[in-house]
């Protein structure tokens, strides 16, 4: 019988899955989906390297390496273990069409992502200088670090490292069957997403360009980018198309703030500004309690807004994040003989899921009608839960609800403790867990579960038949810790 063995690594908040396809004859086919870990994880690099070494102990050839999307917790390994990957013979690299440098739509999206990332980084740096808002900068920084990698090592570099692993790079389109080598006819790999529908990325059609990002996004990016350029003195406000008034209107704020321009004492505007915006220095010359109180009352610093406009960057960062998640390459892998489907949803959020049904597969020989996504979902027996179990990354209607197989099992690569630490209060989401629990009759494997991490026995009260098929592989570094779970379909 043809079978697929999944080795799902449980190394922390990050994805790395090794798939071994075995047909009735011939050498096994090895597929690696993603390899990364959250940047806040202590010793993350060592963990990832341990994972890659474990892969190496299974095989020295990876027939295909799949990069689902450009996020650090999915691709950090291609930097952190770059040298170890050189020990592999890599057949092909699969990426979503969104990463194709020759694709117009992808270029627009990629430029937007790049610009937005630069704006968010700039804003984070500027916010860090503002005492009152340094907390916001920190939160923004942790988001940046999480999704786009720590300073220097950005996920974009990781993506390029991945791309360089093989001269054969395929960019997959929804509705396509990912090509498998001859002899693997027992299996099919369906590409469900990302969709080509520009709406799902917030893109609009316009006359001037084939694709451009919608006004809200470009306004947000432009406002921040130009503002930051003005702040750094690179752009003159008079040539900023996004400035609200003609350049002759108003007084240069930075001059007033730095007091570089000496105003005549009867310059009422400058005086107004000094009295009502900068205010007196509260620390100066107040000794008595009463004087201190008065100075504190006159103090204007608490209501200044020098950097508040940069707050828009958190909005942008969130959009950037969810937009990037929505470029996730989603694969459904079918064993033809049994009709069972394994679903890898990467970090797909709702927008990505919405596009699945638009994926149209061609009619194959022997079929009465083409396979539809709903059909694939109905036959799904393994679901790699999207985005570490966050609440908007598993669609209900047309998604989880359509997964009706009796023997469904779900796997969530997650780390609740780490998630809490980085401010994700609700990962995995309780409501989702409940829903999943119903669909799987309790067969949810969470990578951070005690029984896996301590390499111990199957949890009490669980379905013996099902969980009996799960092997926990122990770490070589720390034999008391489970490194992966292995399932066979």
């Amino acid at each position: 019988m043809p079978k697929i063995t999944l080795r799902l690594y449980c190394h922390g908040l990050g994805d790395c899955h090794l798939l071994k396809f075995e047909a009735d004859a011939g050498a096994p086919f090895w597929m690696l989906i993603d390899c990364g870990i959250h940047s806040s994880t202590k010793g993350g690099k060592a963990l990832v390297r341990e994972v890659v070494e474990d892969i190496r102990s299974c095989t020295d050839r990876l027939d295909v390496v799949v990069g689902t999307h450009e996020h650090w917790d999915h691709n950090s390994g291609f930097i952190q273990a770059q040298d170890l990957f050189e020990n592999f013979e890599v057949g092909e690299v699969w990426l979503a069409w969104t990463e194709n440098p020759a694709d117009d739509q992808a270029k627009a999206l990629d430029k937007y992502k790049g610009d937005a990332l630069a704006a968010v980084r700039g804003a984070a740096a500027a916010l860090a200088l503002d005492e009152g808002l340094s907390g916001a900068a920190e939160r923004l920084g942790s988001l940046l670090g999480f999704v786009f990698g720590a300073t220097g090592d950005i996920s974009r570099t990781a993506r390029e490292n991945l791309r360089a692993l093989s001269p054969v790079v395929r960019y997959l389109e929804p509705g396509q069957f990912a090509p498998l080598p001859a002899g693997l006819d027992d299996f099919r790999v369906y590409v469900l997403a990302p969709s080509r529908n520009p709406k799902l990325f917030g893109m609009v059609d316009s006359a001037s360009e084939t694709y451009s990002m919608g006004p809200q996004w470009s306004g947000l990016v432009g406002g921040l980018t130009n503002g930051l350029a003005i702040r750094e003195g690179v752009l003159s406000p008079s040539s900023d198309p996004l400035a609200p008034f003609d350049s002759a209107v108003g007084i240069k704020l930075s001059d007033l703030l730095e007091g570089e321009v000496v105003y005549a004492p009867d310059d009422l505007d400058a005086r107004f500004f000094a009295e009502h915006y900068t205010g007196p220095n509260p620390a100066a010359s107040a000794t008595s309690t009463a004087a201190k109180l008065k100075a504190a009352k006159d103090d204007q610093s608490w209501r200044r807004i020098d950097s508040d406009w940069l707050g828009a960057s958190s909005e942008l960062a969130l959009q950037l994040d969810s937009r990037t998640n929505n470029t996730s390459l989603v694969l459904a892998i079918e064993t033809v003989a049994t009709g069972k489907v394994l679903l890898f949803a990467a970090d797909a959020q709702v927008g990505n899921w919405k596009g699945w049904s638009e994926a149209k597969f061609k009619l194959l020989a022997g079929q009465e009608k083409p396979v539809e996504v709903a059909d694939l979902l109905a036959r799904t027996v393994f679901y790699k839960v999207g985005h570490h179990g966050s609440r908007n990354a598993t669609r209900g209607p047309g998604g989880l609800e359509a997964m009706s197989a009796d023997d469904l099992i779900a796997f969530i690569p997650t780390d609740q403790v780490m998630a809490k630490k980085v401010g994700w209060s609700d990962i995995p989401a309780r409501a989702l867990l409940e829903h999943l629990g119903e669909k799987t009759k309790g067969r949810i494997v969470m990578s951070d579960s005690g029984w896996i991490q301590s390499g111990g026995a199957r949890p009490q009260g669980t379905n013996a038949a099902w969980f009996g098929g799960i092997e926990v592989g122990l770490s070589k570094v720390d034999p008391k810790r489970g490194l992966y779970v292995e399932l066979t379909f």
């Binding site: 916010l127 808002l133 907390g135 939160r139 919608g214 006004p215 809200q216 306004g219 947000l220 406002g223 130009n226 503002g227 003005i230 406000p237 900023d240 198309p241 400035a243 609200p244 008034f245 003609d246 209107v249 108003g250 007084i251 240069k252 704020l253 007033l256 505007d269 107004f272 500004f273 009502h276 915006y277 309690t289 109180l293 504190a296 009352k297 608490w302 209501r303 807004i305 020098d306 950097s307 508040d308 406009w309 828009a312 958190s314 909005e315 969130l318 959009q319 709702v350 927008g351 966050s390 609440r391 908007n392 401010g423 994700w424 209060s425 609700d426 990962i427 989401a429 309780r430 989702l432």
Partner: protein, 1189 residues
């Protein structure tokens, strides 16, 4: 010191004829307060001959001084005999209650700490321990000290050895007249400062309470063997009336007291001055407290009455370290002193941190006695000891008054002129004659009678008469007429109640005045908000220099040569100050101007309340500061008071002129504020803010909301609670084809009247009820948004011209008036969503209340519902007009409708919208403090409206009910839904007036007719919150079941989120009083409704799987009828207790499900918890919608 008129004192001639009897029958509930002897009336004017009698009567709704003038002028039928009248002032003695539990000396706030318990008796301090030992018990026992206070606790171990209980008296009207016991109920009723009398009595003459660790043996009091006559003049909440003090003084004199000790004081009064003079003439030594104030609270700091009279020794305070009891840290109590000219009759006792016998706890002696309350009995005790020691010499003086004066001189002459830390000048300025030294005083021999000089006569208002009639010679008072005296007395009383008048007088004490100075004072008095109409008219004449009867004000400073009066130039015609300011704005979004069809309607001229404005504009409520950091620009402020702008209704609307933007945000925000003030019956107060750092953090009121018209480069505008500011954004529009907004142009949120009104509403709501920041159920955020939209929407209909034009265009159908129904058209179009940001006119949305959780969608259901209420009411109200206009056919003829009809229809619509706006805003006072739902908002709205509109002619309430029912928004827990069942239910009669409520209300000190600055109002609100917390926590500590009718959880522990520790609350249960506010609003029948709204909140942590998830909030809004403090038939009553119980498992389950379930801003919550946008909760609500299904 808070003072409020309560009753009227009328002085009538008592010549043996029918005058007195007729006055008594003419004045409601008149009672005799005192009989004056001819000699006691020191004034040479109207009543130099004959007996007079002071009566106390009720005051009516007029300003008491207006009433007083009316009585004297012959109103109330007492004309024949009324000589003079003045309000009976009810004063709350500013004395802080010892903190519950804290019984030790408190060195906080700059207070000095003494070396041990009872330190003030030591030789280096008052010397009373040595002095009392030096005078025999027998001699002491001859002396009678009258102790005027709140009564005493007979069970306390500190009780003096010789109480003259047979003769004790009580003038408060609370409890029996022949018992001076403190009648505070035995079950520990929590009252601010309860047991004041018990504590001062112990300091005065307290006995030996027996051995106690840490305390030297011996009696407590300064004069422990003297006899004490207890006289109760203050009630259990330490409120005292002028009339009770007067009665107490008279009684003490008639009982031959040698010394009066009164650790209290109040407002100046003619009757009181008479009583003081009588006592002085009788040789009674009077020692009363100089008064207290709280540092940092703007209140008068001069010595109070009667201590300010020169025939009374004013007890000031000196601290253990020798420093004056003054200049302490903010929020700390300190002692009054000054004006300088009054300090020659002041003497300092040692305070704070004296012992303080705790009422109701017989064995407890706290050590945190403070205020001049604690200083007074020390001085009085020293006087009594001196009398005891020199009894025989004193008896030999030829005149009675000499006895008292000799005592005073001995004390004054022996006082310490310098202390360990204060030099002579400082002592003179702040302590007066010096610091008390009882032992040195004993050594002072009595002066020979030839050397004794009578102290100046006590006169309630002489210095003010001089100021008022413009003569500084000191003779003028003898010729001033009754009316002038009354004016002067009113002014003197105002000086004691208004910090700025008091400060002016202190500054100008004993100095030279000129006309300008005098005018300044008169203007201050006039503008204090306390003056009667009669006085204001009088001052108006004086200030305008148009007093027909005199040749202009003359004023000569003391000691300076008379100068020729400067004739004031005769003013020409003076136009009245306008009450409204007209300003042009864009009523609808400027983009509409692009279309010819709407060109004329985009601009309107609105009027806002007139106030003098500084550039900005900066007024009383708002300050517009136009900085744009993203563009590196500061836009100079507009000066709306510039003549060029005043004559043409401000700047003409222009998108390219930032100054017009400033004008517009000002105008729209002011209109929104006015809507709130009109509806709520009290001034708008913004949220407070913190100043200082670390331990010095203080919460202070924020006088003005700040508005930044160009703060953000984003499609956003929000209210920042932390900055108490509105931040408006601008962004480039890229609109869909066919929209009015051109691609690439900028959209300014500050130019959308809807958005400005919306954001201002957030700020107002936050000032009133900060509790709604907690997003505990899907309605809370939605309500916030919807309420702001409702205000903006209903404000549309106040632009009369606009409504009329729309009526014409829509041929009388309100529902078809498209422009009016959509909010923020340009804002919505500019961001690429075709149509208005939130268009409430579109056909029924395809989502329902039950399954829509996204904040804006859910909110729009509420707004749409309220809009439909407007439509249905309009249809009803317009029906007869349409019938008239169509001869009953109901079908309008083709073509334009008549302008008269349009006008009338517009007026109906405007009126309905105004009424509805008022109803909606009023409802917020009746909403639960946390966890609001649409259903509870409806109930609050119905309840609030029923309170002010008793019978409903226009069926507004029914219209609301119908539409809420249709939209499925009714509360789920009602069996039947009708206007009656929707009203909140009142607590049962036996729970409506709990014992603690009366003391809390008395402690609030609300003066309904007073016009206060907004800053004072917000300071008072926080003081009141503290009072309520104190009172309620003590009541709950004694009886936890009191929690139940308030919806509070008893015995709730405190939880520290940082450490995760919980501990028992010392207060019975943990709770927070968020706000106590007073509202006065007219009912539909013309009467005035007075309400106190108190907001109480509790919270506790919720853990899931052992980890902290969120704080669960509960609490209660109390709507309190203040009743009448002095009328037992009308006690304070809880009208409604609107609560959300912390103990409700349903609520908890729902909130857990909501918080952990999936809802719209999931991504934000995921990454940033509640703090996602640098702590700006509204920024998140208003930013682009998150990805949602």
């Amino acid at each position: 010191m808070n003072a409020e008129p309560d009753g009227l004192l009328v002085k009538v001639r008592n010549d043996g004829g029918f005058g007195l009897a007729s006055a008594i029958s003419a004045l409601p509930q008149a009672e005799v307060i005192r009989e004056s002897r001819a000699s006691s009336d020191v004034r040479l004017g109207a009543t130099a001959t004959g007996q007079t009698t002071w009566l106390r009567t009720q005051n009516d709704d007029r300003h008491p001084w207006d009433q007083a003038h009316a009585v004297v002028a012959g109103g109330m039928g007492a004309a024949a005999s009324a000589i003079s009248a003045e309000p009976d002032m009810l004063v709350s003695w500013a004395a802080m209650s010892p903190a519950p539990g804290a019984s030790h000396q408190n060195g906080g706030g700059g207070r000095a700490v003494g070396p041990h318990f009872g330190w003030h008796l030591d030789t280096q301090f008052s010397g009373l321990r040595d002095a009392r030992a030096a005078v025999s018990a027998q001699d002491q026992n001859r002396v009678l000290i009258a102790h005027l206070d709140t009564g005493y606790d007979p069970a306390h171990r500190s009780i003096p050895a010789h109480m003259e209980t047979a003769r004790e008296r009580n003038f408060t009207g609370e409890g029996a007249a022949n018992s001076a016991r403190d009648v505070t109920p035995a079950n520990p009723l929590p009252i601010t400062n309860r047991g004041h009398g018990t504590a001062t009595l112990a300091l005065l003459a307290g006995g030996d309470p027996g051995p106690q660790p840490g305390r030297a043996p011996g009696p407590l009091g300064g004069a422990p063997q003297c006899r004490v006559l207890p006289i109760r003049v203050g009630d259990s909440v330490v409120q005292l009336r002028t009339s009770t003090i007067v009665q107490g003084f008279d009684y003490a004199r008639m009982q031959n007291a040698d010394v009066i000790s009164m650790s209290m004081g109040g407002i100046t009064s003619d009757a009181l001055a008479e009583a003081v003079n009588d006592c002085y003439e009788a040789g009674v030594v009077i020692v009363t407290a100089a008064g207290n104030f709280v540092e940092g609270v703007p209140s008068p700091r001069s010595i109070v009455y009667p201590a300010r009279h020169r025939r009374v020794i004013a007890a000031t305070g000196v601290m253990a370290n020798g420093a004056p009891y003054d200049d302490l840290a903010a929020a700390t109590m300190a002692g009054c002193h000054g004006p300088d000219s009054n300090m020659a009759y002041a003497l300092a006792g040692w305070t704070p941190n004296t012992f303080w016998a705790r009422f109701g706890a017989p064995n407890i002696l706290d050590e945190d006695g403070q205020g001049t309350s604690a200083a007074t009995p020390q001085v009085a005790a020293a006087a009594a000891l001196w009398i005891a020691a020199h009894n025989q010499v004193l008896a030999a003086y030829p005149q009675r008054w000499m006895r008292g004066e000799a005592v005073r001189q001995a004390l004054f002459r022996s006082a310490r002129l310098v202390t360990a830390t204060s030099d002579a000048a400082l002592v003179r300025k702040k302590l007066g004659r010096g610091a008390l030294d009882a032992l040195r005083a004993l050594a002072q021999a009595p002066l020979p009678f030839t050397q004794l000089v009578k102290a100046p006569v006590a006169d309630a208002s002489r210095y003010m008469i001089n100021l008022l009639i413009g003569v500084g010679s000191g003779i003028a008072d003898t010729v001033a007429g009754t009316r002038t005296r009354m004016f002067a007395l009113e002014m003197a009383q105002i000086a004691q109640r208004d910090a700025s008048v008091d400060a002016w007088l202190r500054e100008h004490d004993e100095g030279a005045f000129d006309i300008a100075d005098r005018k300044e004072l008169l203007a201050l008095v006039r503008d204090s908000g306390l003056a009667s109409d009669t006085l204001r008219a009088k001052l108006g004449v004086a200030l305008d220099g148009r007093d027909g009867r005199s040749a202009g004000p003359r004023f000569v400073g003391a000691g300076s040569k008379p100068t020729q009066p400067t004739p004031a130039p005769k003013p020409g015609f003076e136009p009245p100050v306008p009450t409204r300011r007209r300003l042009q704005i864009f009523a609808l979004d400027p983009s509409l101007g692009v279309s010819l069809a709407t060109f004329e309607s985009k601009m309107v001229t609105v009027d806002v309340r007139f106030e003098p404005l500084k550039p900005g504009p900066i007024g009383e409520y708002l300050e517009v500061i136009d900085v744009d950091p993203a563009s590196d620009r500061f836009y100079p402020p507009v000066d709306l008071d510039h003549p060029s702008l005043l004559i043409c209704d401000g700047l003409a609307p222009s998108e390219g002129l930032p100054q017009f933007h400033q004008q517009m945000v000002y105008a729209v925000a002011m209109r929104t504020i006015a809507s709130f003030e009109d509806a709520l019956g009290r001034p708008a107060i913004w949220a407070s803010h913190k100043i200082g750092e670390g331990r010095g953090v203080k919460i202070v009121p924020t006088p003005r909301l700040r508005i930044y018209p160009h703060a953000l480069r984003a499609r956003n505008a929000y209210y920042s609670p932390e900055k108490v500011a509105l931040l408006f954004g601008y962004f480039p529009s890229v609109a869909a084809l066919g929209s009015a907004t051109a691609e690439g142009t900028l959209v300014y949120s500050a130019l959308s009247a809807d958005i400005v009104a919306h954001e201002t509403t957030h700020a107002l709501l936050d000032g009133y009820t900060p509790g709604y920041r907690e997003m505990s159920n899907p309605d809370v955020g939605a309500f916030h948004e919807a309420f702001a939209d409702v205000v903006a929407l209903l404000q549309h209909f106040q632009y009369g011209d606009l409504v009329k034009r729309e009526m014409i265009a829509a041929r009388g159908e309100l529902g078809a008036a498209t422009l009016l129904g959509g909010l923020a058209k340009q804002f919505g179009e500019g961001s690429g969503n075709r149509g208005a940001l939130r268009d409430y006119l579109s056909t029924k949305p395809d989502f329902s209340y039950r399954d829509t959780l996204e904040v804006h969608d859910r909110g729009s259901i509420l707004v749409r519902t309220i809009y439909l209420v407007l439509l249905s009411l309009f249809e009803r109200r317009a029906a007869d007009l349409i019938a008239l206009a169509t001869d009953g056919s109901g079908v309008l003829r083709a073509g334009a409708i008549r302008p008269e009809l349009a006008e009338r229809l517009a007026r109906e619509a405007t009126r309905i919208a105004r009424d509805m706006l008022r109803m909606c805003i009023r409802a917020i006072d009746y909403c639960p403090p946390v966890d609001i739902t649409f259903g509870s908002f409806l109930r609050a709205l119905i309840t609030a409206d029923s309170e002010v509109v008793a019978s409903e002619r226009l069926s507004y309430r029914t219209a609301f009910l119908e539409q809420f029912r249709a939209a499925d928004l009714l509360p789920t827990n009602l069996k039947t839904a009708s206007v009656e069942t929707l009203r909140w239910s009142s607590p049962p009669a036996d729970q409506a007036s709990p014992a603690w409520l009366g003391s809390a209300v008395a402690g609030f000190n609300i003066h309904w007719r007073e016009k206060l600055s907004r800053e004072t109002i917000s300071e008072r609100a926080s003081q009141r919150s503290k009072v309520l917390h104190d009172v309620l926590s003590r009541a709950i500590a004694a009886d936890p079941s009191l929690c139940i009718p308030l919806g509070l959880e008893p015995e709730l522990a405190l939880y520290d989120r940082k450490t995760g520790a919980t501990r028992r609350s010392a207060e019975g249960t943990a709770f927070e009083v968020r706000n106590v506010r007073a509202a006065r609003r007219p009912r539909s029948d013309g009467t005035i409704q007075e309400d106190i709204i108190a907001v109480i909140v509790q919270r506790k942590p919720v853990f899931i799987d052992g980890s902290f998830v969120f704080m669960f909030h509960g609490g209660c809004t109390l709507v309190i009828d203040p009743g009448h403090a002095l009328d037992p038939q009308r006690p304070a009553r809880i009208r409604y207790a609107v609560y959300k119980r912390l103990t409700s498992q349903d609520r908890l389950d729902n909130e857990i499900a909501y918080r952990t379930g999936s809802f719209a801003s999931a991504a934000k919550a995921l990454y940033f918890d509640d703090q996602w946008n640098h702590g700006e909760p509204f920024a998140a609500l208003h930013a682009d919608r998150g990805e949602a299904e």
